[in-house]
Symmetry: D2
Subunit: 243 residues, 4 copies
């Protein structure tokens, strides 16, 4: 009998790898989509090694080209079967800039990464899920979806839009049995990039462990449909959260 299939859009080091490892270990086949195989091959190797029983395949697509993303997912469905879970795990540009320094191109680009690409991915899987009256669509997001920022306005604008999309999809399609969730990560992740960024201030106790975040995604996946969360916040126990 075939395994359930999980697509992760935005696969690489960090949370993408952890999600892949978690869902593979829980019996999913995986289709992993990243911009280029170069960035993700090493991470995928680690996942493949750990999960001999699962099919794990790598695909390439540029999320800022929604038709391409749609057709990549159509190919996956054709070659690997029905999709049970889509995780849109793309993080738009996180470069700091003050609002007046945003370029129109950067504004357009963050929207394509965070909102249009997320919609394209959802659009590619939802009709099938609705037909089968089951399926899950998870969006990786952040506290930036809840408040503007004087230093990272692009990220906030993108994540606000992603949250609006997630809510809209949920309100329209939950009744067909589709579990749509906006995950608000209220913390930095303990990834190689963050380790480097923090330098001497690096303290893993202050960061969310990607494997733990993946575990909480998995727990959310198991929620029975009469007791679903549609917006999930995740933060480490050390986080002094504000709202």
């Amino acid at each position: 009998m075939s395994k359930p299939l999980c697509i992760i859009v935005g696969f690489g080091e960090g949370l993408g790898r952890a999600l892949a490892a978690k869902f593979a270990s829980c019996g999913f086949d995986l289709a992993l989509i990243s911009r280029s195989k170069k960035n993700s091959a090493a991470a995928a190797d680690a996942v493949v090694t750990a999960t001999v029983a699962s099919r794990v395949r790598l695909f390439c697509a540029d999320v800022t080209r929604p038709e391409t993303l749609e057709s990549t997912i159509a190919t996956i469905a054709q070659e690997m079967g029905e999709i049970d879970l889509l995780i849109y795990n793309v993080r738009g540009n996180f470069t700091a800039c003050e609002p007046l320094d945003m370029s129109y191109d950067a504004l357009e680009n963050v929207y394509r990464e965070e909102v249009v690409g997320a919609f394209a991915a959802a659009k590619a899987v939802l009709p099938g899920m609705i037909t089968r009256s089951r399926g899950s669509v998870f969006f990786s997001s952040a506290t930036a979806a809840f408040r503007g920022s004087s230093t990272h306005p692009l990220y906030a604008i993108g994540k606000f839009g992603l949250r609006a999309l997630s809510q809209s999809l949920s309100k329209a399609y939950a009744k067909h049995g589709i579990h749509i969730v906006h995950f608000r990560l209220d913390c930095d992740l303990d990834t190689p990039i963050m380790h480097e960024l923090y330098g001497q201030d690096y303290d893993p106790g202050k960061l969310a462990n990607p494997d733990d975040v993946a575990e909480s995604y998995w727990l959310t996946y198991q929620q029975p449909r009469s007791a679903w969360s549609n917006e999930v916040e995740l933060r480490p126990y050390t986080e002094g959260w504000t709202c």
Copy 2:
């Protein structure tokens, strides 16, 4: 080796029974506190029968008398051991009335049930949990914690206060390893009382199944501490939610 111990304050038909059954089936001993044994004995019998391997004990306390609740929990700790999980599952008065018809007594009472009692229960278990650097405190709440009501103002006032308490405790004690969660039930529960209340309009598909809600509590309990939720919303897939 002893089992982990779960206290449920506010035990009876409905969610209390479902939580007891769930956590017993997951290997917990149970201390169940209700106002009178009369109301809860039948439900407890069902739980006990289903969970021969667990210790299940019934206690009585009036949550509107905080010192009494504290001392009841102290007795439980003495007789049954360290408390791993406290679930405060009390629902204050839900009688409809317009705001101007609230009596001062009703205002005081809903606060004692929803806030002071919840604090008393937390106060009875937190110092031990802090010493052991682990433990979970769960508060059953509702969407009423997020918006006022022209028809159920007492319930909203109580639940707003409960949410403030839950956030305050979490911000103060999460760093000691204590997982404090406010559960917002965004729906009516499919309980005998609701069945009767809805009458001919009763449609289980529109309600949250208590066993499913208990399952989502259990999933939340399993979140690893670097990826915790402190506010969890739960609603059935059929719920057209607004905020």
Copy 3:
């Protein structure tokens, strides 16, 4: 022709004085209620001197005794006439303590000050306002109404409850032409007490000027009824707000 009448509950140095001065200067008679005349006489003198054309009267009531507050307001209505505007400007205990150090008495007391007293005041004026299809009820609140606190949990619990009350009243009675507003002061006020508290760090540019806050209350009072705000946030331009 008689002037409109404004009651301010919680009158003293700081915002109470500023509100009194502002509304007197805009043509209101004033009934000022404080716990003791001692605390408020000096402030009232200043207001009286500035507003010779208005009637300004001082009353005493303990807001934690709701029937007393109700009867005081009934007396005011009898002696001074119809009430156009009620401002409930009481601030509950702001002493810092960690959540586990809250006493049951302190929990009860903050609720009486912030919620029960506010309700008593509203209850004393709303029936008359509903009969006349006009009137305004303003509650002075704070950002504490929006998030719990590890250091000031009592204040948060009180202000959450006040917000629930304000929303409930508004949803029930706005349709009768009553303008009910929750003012969230997202800042410290530049008052003598704060000046002293900040000591060498005192910087008026970082604080909200009470006269400016009173001006913004007055502007809100003037909103036409087809374009009302029910929750108003106020912060100084120097405030780096979070949510």
Copy 4:
């Protein structure tokens, strides 16, 4: 001595006309920008007639072309002088569609109208305002900025983004004395289009009167800078609001 200058982007029947009339009556010169003069000439005539003492000039620009909007505003500054108040009053596409029926073009377009255009307008006026340490930037928005929609997802996605932009600008530039406000209209407006849309159900008592909304904008404009609102909600007294 010259009058203060107000730019309204998105001028036509409805709120645009009401805002123009209000600010002209309060002593402002006006620069009114709409997509085509055809749509706005009649409305402008009405404003001009009512405000002989003010300069009122009409300009054309397509807000979905941000450089064009920027250069139009630069022209206005050159020809009419320093800008005191910018009101971005554009409403993106409000056509109903379910989320899966959104086209990529519609997604791009609503973002250009609601977010990129709003940023272009702000970018054209903020540097001058910052230099002078004064100025106001007002964004007309809606409750759609606070929750997704199963029926109007495009509108929600656009307004969420606009709110993120407004918060980000405010957090970055309020400290320079610039008052940036997101106006959430929590109601339909009583405009000719709505009158027609509602047909026999038309009830002006249920709608916000545009002149009243304009009045509340004007009251907000007068807030002193130590007691500013950055997010203003406006609803008619008849509105049974939810959040």
